[in-house]
């Protein structure tokens, strides 16, 4: 099971360590640092690193490496999932998960880690149980504690700990009872240079914010539940009911939680909401290159594209660019060779474009790499897959809650493969 945990910041300092069994010397992290040095980018550090006596399993979040040390056979996914839970808990408690926040709350962090794992076995990882055991720090509570000498450690056994619904505490009370659901879809796509789709898939989630009194029992049904054939549920969802009737029936946790995540694969024909036309050319024997890029909306179901952001890693040989955006602002970093263009909203009547020239290192050979164009965008009030909630009902409680459903589509990893023209072998053909 999990033996120890080290937190390492981006400059390679261990700023927190916690051991659940015997103490493991922090020199074990040297193997991690070696791997870190070998990796070209921070995110390229391999997640599982063997050392002579231990295994190091790490995740990188918020520019902090969470390095777990294990000694015997443990499912690595188990460790990684647990580390994610630690990150989520910190974020939940301190608002942000940064080195400063952790250092500022080091004792709470320590108490939390002790509560989350016992002898390497997860103990309490549900946010609402933890919050009953250890109160999250707030300015008010700190002041009150200092004056009254009371503590931020709960003295009672959390009620959820052993109940059949461990995710919900009892005795919840609100004056305004409300339940909001956000259907958020991210589209991942790879488009080839001719504009046809190589792969496209949708990762969707339904995030909920439920503030309801008592023990409400909710059901959520969809207009088109057939879309959801690949889903992961929060433990509160009754799986049998879903299997039989395609209805989500559940007693919700209190507060924010992810009700389900789903995946719509490329087979189910994902509509591509945006297109990019681009042309990057270098001429043989000249130190100038042309750059042209235009983009426009495709199938957006009548909704506008917002917060559009284009970025692309230009070839190493490019010294600088001189481009004109028809709207928005663009920026080229000559060191990292990263071109970014903040387009903003797209007006279908007047398509945005970015045109101009690039200067190359004199005498250098033609760049070989193909620049890939990354596109980010948002579409409000629409879920690209077409998923629609039919109705939300509440049982078990008497009051009438406020209900709300919001839809949104975002670009995830949305990329268009580039094409460099004027390469030696293209010219020959």
């Amino acid at each position: 099971m999990i033996h120890s945990l080290f937190l390492v910041n981006s400059s390679g300092d261990i700023f927190l360590e916690k051991h659940w069994k015997s103490v493991v010397s922090r020199s074990v992290c040297d193997y991690f640092f070696e791997a870190q040095e070998r990796a070209s980018e921070p995110e390229n550090v391999p997640p599982v690193i063997p050392t002579p006596h231990h295994y190091l399993i790490s995740v990188l979040r918020h520019r902090i490496y969470f390095v777990a040390v294990i000694q015997s056979e443990v499912p690595p996914l188990f460790v990684i999932e647990f580390l994610h839970r630690v990150v989520d808990t910190f974020q939940d408690y301190f608002g942000v998960c940064t080195e400063a926040a952790i250092k500022d709350n080091v004792v709470v962090v320590y108490e939390l880690l002790e509560e989350m794992l016992d002898n390497g076995f997860p103990l309490a990882t549900e946010s609402n149980i933890l919050k009953e055991l250890i109160k999250p720090p707030t300015i008010l509570r700190t002041v009150v504690n200092t004056i009254t000498g009371s503590t931020n450690v709960g003295e009672q056994l959390p009620t959820g700990q052993l109940s059949v619904v461990p995710w919900r505490r009892t005795g919840v009370k609100y004056t305004n009872n409300e339940a909001y659901f956000d259907v958020v879809e991210e589209i991942d796509a790879i488009i080839d240079k001719s504009g046809s789709t190589i792969t496209a898939e949708i990762q969707g989630v339904i995030d909920a914010c439920v503030k309801l009194t008592g023990m409400p029992d909710l059901t959520l049904s969809f207009m088109n539940p057939r879309l959801l054939d690949d889903v992961s549920f929060h433990p509160c969802v009754r799986f049998k009911r879903w299997e039989a009737e395609r209805i989500l029936s559940f007693i919700p946790p209190d507060g924010n939680f992810r009700l389900l995540s789903y995946h719509v694969s490329c087979q189910n024909l994902v509509a591509i909401p945006v297109y990019v036309k681009h042309n990057i050319t270098f001429r043989e024997g000249s130190s100038q290159g042309r750059f042209e890029l235009t983009l426009g909306p495709k199938q957006t179901m009548g909704k506008g594209l917002e917060a559009v952001l284009i970025s692309s890693q230009l070839p190493r040989g490019v010294l600088n660019t001189n481009l004109n955006p028809s709207q928005g602002t663009y920026n080229f970093d000559p060191v990292t060779k990263l071109l970014s263009w903040d387009v903003g909203k797209i007006n279908p009547q007047k398509l945005p474009s970015l045109k101009g020239s690039m200067s190359l290192q004199a005498g250098a050979s033609k760049p070989d790499e193909n620049p890939t164009i990354n596109i980010q965008f948002k579409i409000q009030q629409s879920a690209l897959s077409g998923l629609k909630v039919n109705r939300l009902d509440m049982y078990g409680e008497k009051y009438k809650p406020f209900k709300g459903i919001k839809y949104m589509t975002k670009a995830g990893k949305f990329q268009t493969k580039g094409l460099l023209r004027g390469r030696a072998w293209d010219l020959k053909n």
Binding site: S40, N44, P75, P76, L77, D104, V107, V153, E369
Partner: protein
């Protein structure tokens, strides 16, 4: 106001100040001080000097303060054991506290204090907590047993905590069940032979019920435990699968993967024509795809596992090729894994798409990735025959880019394509030759030289090309030198007239100027071949080479089966069996997939678990290539490469432990070894079977090997007689064993110091150790051996008498014997008859003692002598025996009892051999 204030120090000395504050009268100040101490501890500062002061704060009603002090105690108790004892009273008192939170906290903390003196006091409170009325306390106590076991295993067994823990599996609370399972699994890991998790249909049912109600972590423990169970028949298998399937939709990816493991294993038992089988296959794909949309670290682990799954059951993901396409901003470790899976899924149907992708990847920035993409194109060509032409033209396009590393990588793979499809794509050689000068990596140079040599007759200036390489011969790496030597000899055999000078030159470079023995030896072989019999030389050097296939990079089937049973574990990430690398697990169970059985036959067998696994004979894949394959390859491939599959496992410090879950029953086959007997064994010493011929000379190019095994003064020895029946001198002997049931491995090199001349014989004794890699063989005592000399590598297999594994300290205490005899289930008992043995019981006992079979007690009942004996194998397995000797009756009856009943047959053979010689 934040905790960072705890890190500020003053000039006077931090420890001094803290001491003062800890002893303050004000509660609030005390708490602040303890917080400061904890803060220092978290950053690795040594604050152990404050131990007495902190422990003084323990007696308090304030829960936060109590928790903080406990935190401190856990960290430092080990360094201050005498002081830590002061805390015991408070712990014991807290274990009686009315608040369950405090009871649980106390028992939890006590378990973390790794001080022997304290653990003694822990037993009583722990016993109470294991039966506490509050499930929260019970579940905490369950984990505490595992902690205690880690500190003092004997104590846990003596106190009977293991039984209490087993009872908790039937607890009414699912969380308690899950924790009990987790604790038992952890304990079982260090106790390979104990039947701690003795699963039967009733307990399985309880686990499945708890599975639905416990936390996500508990589900992982339960699923991993379920995966160790072998269902009785396909019906039970199906019903478990049905109840596990809903876990595939869990948000926690570790739950999903553990469920996949259970399903992959149990599916093996379902008949393929069953409708449910198809449904299950369909259900497995979506969750695996979903794992790929998670964070990159999760993706990595998932991909390593998917790699195994697509090798075992390619049908699951055959339509999902696109999800493995690489994204530009994937971390490199994800990219490389995706690439690997793309090749495994490549088929005629999707090859066009795959190739287009791979071509894109070959123009990316990351060098490692680009190289692997180019190699992937080559592997596609080899795997999908219809695509070979497109692959070759894609590779040619890439060569035209003139990007140095792309070109070199392309040439290496084109060489493989030539070997797969001879006489098909040689038209591209001209293009390859254009790039000769730019090659600076040994592998690419060697590949190019191989191509030139192989197709020398079609390349007009082959001699010039090879000559140009020859100029810097001594600066080349061995790989290139060897290749160059072979290529020039090939050239000479094809165009003898023009290249005589060249071949002379390379032979003298190789044999006279080189320090490398491999190179010299190869040079001499060629030289002698060419000078004595050029026709034979032609036959050898230009022999047709075996075609290569895509199987070369597949995981060996037995290993794959084992890895499938370990889906989701570190073993699956490293693609190695757990025995190869996990430290601390003294005994590793070798898991195997269950065999398919009909529901009818399974129930008839008394020992259902084992019988179900073993009833179908499994085709054991041969790891050692057959002699014929090697011959053709001899001169073109380096010997190490041939030996690789055999030695690959290396000599890691894998513990030699008999696989506890042996499935296949041990067949006969021992008989022939002993039937050959008739030689004289030493009357009172250990029994040594007579030498037999293991490798006849005609099978090994003149080398004859015979031998036997002996145990002398506690050392196992392999006694070999090597006879050279060939005309030339033999040198450079080396020996290597394949993995075997008891981890036998040479403890040193084969000591043949002088060359073995024609018609000479030499006797060598090779000491053996039992710490080599373990793999179950059939028959159990089978040993596969490779012997190498300057001529070739030879393989043979032999069987050793298991008696040489009987260790000297195999005499059991009487009481222990009695208890163990009772403890081993009757199913594990086997009875044999030894006929025509004319020894009295005294003589038999003496004789057996010589082979480390110890008589512990003797009883005479109605003229019948009953001898009770014990044997201990080198891997710690005990075998207990009861021998019945009746005066005047030459037939003995022997009963053997052992926790690993598979060895009984072998042990019986030994009895027979020892008593009759």
């Amino acid at each position: 106001m934040t905790d960072s204030k705890y890190f500020t120090t003053t000039k006077k000395g931090e420890i001094f100040e803290l001491k003062a504050e800890l002893n303050s009268d004000k509660k609030e100040k005390k708490k602040e001080a303890v917080k400061k101490v904890i803060a220092s501890m978290t950053v690795g500062k040594d604050v152990s000097a404050l131990f007495p002061d902190v422990v003084n704060c323990m007696q308090t009603d304030n829960l936060e303060l109590k928790k903080l002090v406990y935190l401190y105690l856990m960290n430092y108790a080990k360094s201050q054991p005498d002081m830590a004892i002061m805390a015991v009273n408070t712990f014991v008192k807290d274990c009686e506290d009315p608040n369950p939170l405090i009871r649980a906290l106390a028992v939890r903390t006590m378990g973390c204090i790794r001080v022997d003196k304290i653990t003694e006091y822990l037993c009583e409170p722990l016993r109470k907590c294991l039966k506490d009325e509050d499930p929260y306390v019970r579940k905490t106590a369950a984990v505490c047993v595992a902690k205690l076991h880690d500190i003092n295993a004997q104590l846990v067994e003596d106190q009977g905590f293991l039984d209490t823990l087993k009872d908790l599996i039937s607890d009414s609370n699912p969380m308690v069940v899950a924790n009990a399972v987790a604790a038992l699994s952890e304990i079982a890991e260090s106790h390979p032979n104990s039947n701690l998790l003795d699963l039967n249909p009733q307990s399985i049912n309880k686990l499945l019920t708890a599975l639905n109600e416990c936390t996500e972590w508990g589900q992982i423990f339960i699923l991993d435990c379920l995966a160790n169970y072998t269902p009785r028949d396909d019906r039970e298998s199906q019903s478990i699968c049905e109840r596990v399937t809903p876990r595939l939709s869990h948000a926690n990816s570790a739950v999903v993967l553990s469920a996949v493991k259970v399903l992959m294993k149990f599916m093996e038992m379902l008949p393929k024509d069953l409708d449910y089988y198809g449904t299950l296959l369909k259900k497995l794909a979506p969750p695996l795809v979903t794992l790929l949309s998670a964070e990159p670290e999760l993706q990595y682990v998932a991909l390593r596992n998917i790699n195994l799954i697509v090798q075992k059951r390619p049908e699951i993901l055959k339509h999902e090729m696109k999800v493995f396409f690489v994204k530009y901003n994937d971390p490199i470790y994800v990219k490389l894994e995706k690439l690997d899976i793309m090749i495994r899924l490549a088929s005629q149907a999707n090859i066009a798409q795959v190739l287009a992708e791979l071509k894109e990847y070959a123009t990316e920035v990351d060098v490692d990735f680009v190289r692997k993409a180019v190699r992937a194109i080559g592997r596609c060509a080899i795997k999908v025959e219809q695509s070979a032409e497109r692959c070759v033209s894609t590779l040619l396009d890439l060569i035209q880019t003139k990007v140095n590393y792309v070109v070199q990588e392309a040439i290496v793979v084109i060489k493989d394509i030539f070997r797969k499809y001879p006489n098909k794509y040689e038209s591209v050689i001209a293009t390859l030759c254009e790039n000769l000068d730019s090659l600076d990596e040994p592998e690419a140079r060697a590949a190019m030289i191989w191509i030139v040599g192989e197709y020398a007759e079609r390349i007009d200036n082959a001699d010039e090309l090879l000559e140009s390489f020859l100029e810097g011969f001594h600066d080349e790496s061995t790989q290139v030198q060897l290749q160059l030597l072979t290529a020039i000899v090939k050239l000479f055999l094809k165009k003898p007239t023009e290249t005589q000078e060249l071949v002379q030159q390379v032979l003298s470079l190789a044999t006279q100027d080189s320090d490398n023995p491999d190179l010299r030896d190869r040079g001499y072989i060629y030289w002698r071949l060419l000078s004595t019999d050029p026709v034979a030389a032609k036959e050898v050097v230009l022999a047709e080479k075996p075609l290569i296939s895509e199987e070369t990079d597949l995981i060996e089937p037995t290993l794959l089966e084992e890895l499938i049973c370990h889906i989701g574990t570190l073993a699956s990430v490293y693609h190695k069996p757990p025995s190869a690398f996990v430290e601390g697990s003294r005994g590793v169970m070798h898991k195997r997939l269950p065999a398919r059985t009909g529901s009818g036959e399974g129930t008839e067998c008394p020992d259902v678990g084992n019988a179900a696994g073993g009833s179908a004979p499994e085709a054991a894949p041969s790891i050692i290539p057959s002699q014929g394959d090697l011959l053709g390859d001899l001169l073109n491939l380096d010997l190490p490469a041939v030996l690789l599959p055999l030695m690959g496992a290396g000599f890691g410090a894998a513990p030699a432990v008999m696989p506890a879950s042996l499935n296949a029953p041990v067949g006969g086959g021992l008989g022939d070894l002993f039937d050959l007997g008739g030689g004289v064994g030493m009357p009172m010493g250990a029994y040594i079977p007579p030498k037999t011929v293991w490798l006849p000379a005609m099978k090994a190019k003149g080398l004859e090997i015979s031998g036997t095994f002996a145990r002398r003064a506690g050392v196992i020895q392999m006694e070999l007689v090597l006879t050279n029946k060939a005309m030339s001198v033999m040198t450079d002997f080396a020996i290597q064993f394949n993995r075997n049931s008891f981890g036998l491995a040479p403890a040193g090199p084969l000591q043949v110091l002088t060359p073995l001349g024609p018609n000479q014989t030499i006797e060598v004794s090779l000491p053996l150790s039992t710490v080599g890699p373990v793999m179950k063989m059939d028959p159990l005592n089978n040993l596969q051996v490779a012997v190498k000399n300057n001529i070739d590598v030879f393989y043979f297999s032999c069987q050793y008498p298991i008696s040489m594994l009987f260790v000297e300290d195999g005499k059991m205490e009487r009481q222990v014997f009695l208890a163990t005899w009772k403890d081993i289930p009757n199913d594990n008992e086997s009875q044999f008859q030894i006929q025509d043995c004319h020894l009295n019981s005294e003589a038999a006992s003496n004789k057996l003692q010589g082979s480390n079979i110890f008589t512990i007690a003797k009883r005479t009942v109605e003229g019948q002598d009953m001898l009770y004996m014990s044997i201990k194998l080198s891997n710690g397995i005990w075998v207990l025996a009861e021998l019945k000797v009746q005066a005047g009756n030459p037939n003995y009856t022997i009963s053997l009892k052992c926790r690993a009943p598979e060895v009984s047959q072998c042990v019986f053979q030994c009895y027979e051999a020892v008593l009759k010689n």
